[in-house]
């Protein structure tokens, strides 16, 4: 892909060419003619919003699940986890219709809210695991010393789980950045995200392979960079904190 993106039109359709003078023409073209920068900006807005809300709400809930006992706690926790598995095509129709009624189609905020449906469950389960790993005694000691719950959260829990929060946030970013089905139906131009640009390349293939590959490279760089940061937590992330390795 990287190679194709650096080739000219004629070279791109010939797989036998392995050595050639690289050109940045395709990159210039996707940014200038295809508004790639706009889509990157859209993706970034949606991803940052949804991740920030998820981490805030999800971490609070995770703390609730990790430190308190209440009736049917596990039932609720597992019900939340089940939401993470919803097929996007099963929920996109009501989101689409409701978005239309509310006049929210093709807005960043709609997509960011919809993405909460998988990011919040994920955050709760990941963070619950991380919080349960800190010994409860530290918090109890602080509470006895007259610390308020809020202070315990900001001064003890938050700093101690910071690596966990960072890893969880990165996973949310990757998931949201890569999401296609929901973005495809709920946006058209203003809030269009990077993965949906694939639709530009579905029909008029042959001529623009180079551009296609350039989009691919640009879209992949951020997620790859992030993925290597969280490599250590990967198995944990893939299984929603169920398997800690």
């Amino acid at each position: 892909m990287l190679m194709t993106s650096l080739k000219t039109r004629v070279q791109a359709i010939n797989p036998a060419i392995w050595i050639f003078t690289p050109t940045l023409e395709n990159y210039r073209s996707v940014f200038q003619k295809r508004d790639l920068l706009l889509y990157i900006k859209n993706s970034a807005i949606v991803v940052v919003t949804t991740t920030a809300i998820s981490i805030f709400l999800g971490t609070l809930a995770a703390y609730g699940f990790a430190r308190f006992h209440f009736s049917r706690k596990e039932d609720i926790a597992f019900w939340i986890l089940s939401l993470r598995m919803l097929p996007p095509m099963a929920v996109v129709i009501p989101f689409f219709l409701l978005g239309r009624f509310l006049g929210l189609l093709d807005t960043h905020i709609l997509l960011a809210i919809v993405y909460l449906s998988f990011n919040i469950p994920f955050t709760i389960w990941m963070m619950r695991g991380f919080i349960e790993e800190i010994p409860q005694e530290i918090e109890e000691a602080a509470l006895i010393d007259g610390c308020s719950r809020l202070r315990v959260l900001t001064k003890i829990v938050f700093p101690l789980t910071l690596p966990g929060i960072a890893a969880t946030a990165i996973f949310c970013v990757i998931q949201s950045w890569n999401e296609f089905a929901l973005a495809f139906f709920l946006t058209s131009f203003n809030a269009r995200t990077v993965p949906t640009t694939v639709t530009f390349f579905l029909s008029v293939m042959g001529i623009i392979w180079g551009e296609m590959a350039a989009v691919g490279v640009v879209a992949s760089i951020p997620v790859l960079a992030f993925a290597f940061v969280v490599q250590k937590y990967l198995v944990r992330g893939l299984t929603f904190g169920a398997i800690k390795s």
Partner: protein
């Protein structure tokens, strides 16, 4: 004191819970409702009428493509998950030994899983192209004929190929983590008792690994059921409806040609039902693991 503590717990949990109910439960109920109407995108919302279960009857009795999509979705899930399991287990066992350059291999494994799925479908579309793709180019170097990878008969198997490429690492990483966490004592005992490597693998490693295997396979099956993005990028369900998995059938019913939102909703409810079934099994397994102290 206890009461107060309980109230405090709800203060932490409720904001998330309320959000999820609002953005998932409410739309799901709405979906059920729409699935009982004849709404389609070309009419005004007020013009729709209640049609009972007629959309479901349509799918079950008249829509041959629905049955086809159900069949290939299940078949797709079974084949991909089966292949990914065998290959993934192989890779995990290989990693479990001390092989050269493990860290580099590990990093390579992560790539297919985290690259944007639609981008993956583009990469494969380039490689699978009949005239100019790398795959046929390599075949021709060996004097073999060209394969029409995305043709009517071949497209479904190409899809399986891509999915196996993308997700085998997932199974491999989970099982590898599982292998690393296995206790040492049973192995020492087995060796003392004179068990051969085959016996050790089948009577010790596999049973000990069973919960991990179950979790990995269930997660993959659910994902296979949900599959939309890669198929859309690669074939859009075509040629014809050769690769029209259930998600793509919903898309065709509801958005692409016919705008029959009511019927598409009915199909979505069925998909939701299938995935809920698998999810329930998965959650039971996870729950047992959690209580078992894993």
């Amino acid at each position: 004191m206890r009461k107060r503590k309980k109230r405090e717990a709800y203060a932490f949990v409720l904001p998330s819970l309320a959000t999820l109910v609002a953005i998932v439960i409410f739309p799901t109920i709405f979906l059920w409702y729409v699935s009982l109407t004849n709404y389609d995108l070309s009419m005004g919302w007020e013009q729709k009428s209640f049609v009972g279960l007629r959309n479901y009857f349509f799918l079950f009795l008249e829509d041959k493509d629905f049955w086809y999509s159900l069949r290939i979705t299940l078949f797709f899930a079974a084949v991909t998950v089966g292949l990914e399991f065998v290959l993934g287990l192989g890779v995990a066992l290989l990693f479990h030994r001390h092989i050269w350059g493990k860290r580099v291999w590990m990093s390579c494994l992560i790539l297919p899983m985290v690259i944007t799925p639609t981008i993956i479908s583009l990469i494969w579309k380039l490689m699978l192209n009949t005239e100019y793709g790398v795959l046929n180019f390599i075949l021709s170097q060996f004097g073999l004929g060209k394969i029409n990878w995305l043709g009517p008969k071949e497209a479904f198997w190409s899809l399986i190929l891509v999915d196996v490429w993308e997700w085998t690492p997932f199974i491999a990483l989970i099982l590898y983590a599982g292998l690393q966490a296995l206790p040492q004592e049973p192995y020492e005992a087995a060796v003392v008792d004179g068990a051969n490597p085959r016996q050790i693998f089948f009577y010790l490693t596999l049973p000990l690994l069973k919960p991990m295997i179950l979790i990995a396979l269930l997660l993959r099956s659910i994902d296979a059921l949900k599959m939309f993005d890669v198929v859309y990028g690669l074939t859009q369900g075509g040629p014809g409806n050769a690769t029209e998995l259930m998600s793509l059938h919903i898309y065709r019913l509801g958005f692409r040609h016919t705008n029959w939102i009511g019927r598409a909703s009915a199909n979505a409810v069925i998909l939701l039902f299938l995935s809920t079934l698998l999810t329930t099994v998965l959650l039971r397994t996870l729950r047992r693991e959690r209580l078992g102290g894993a």
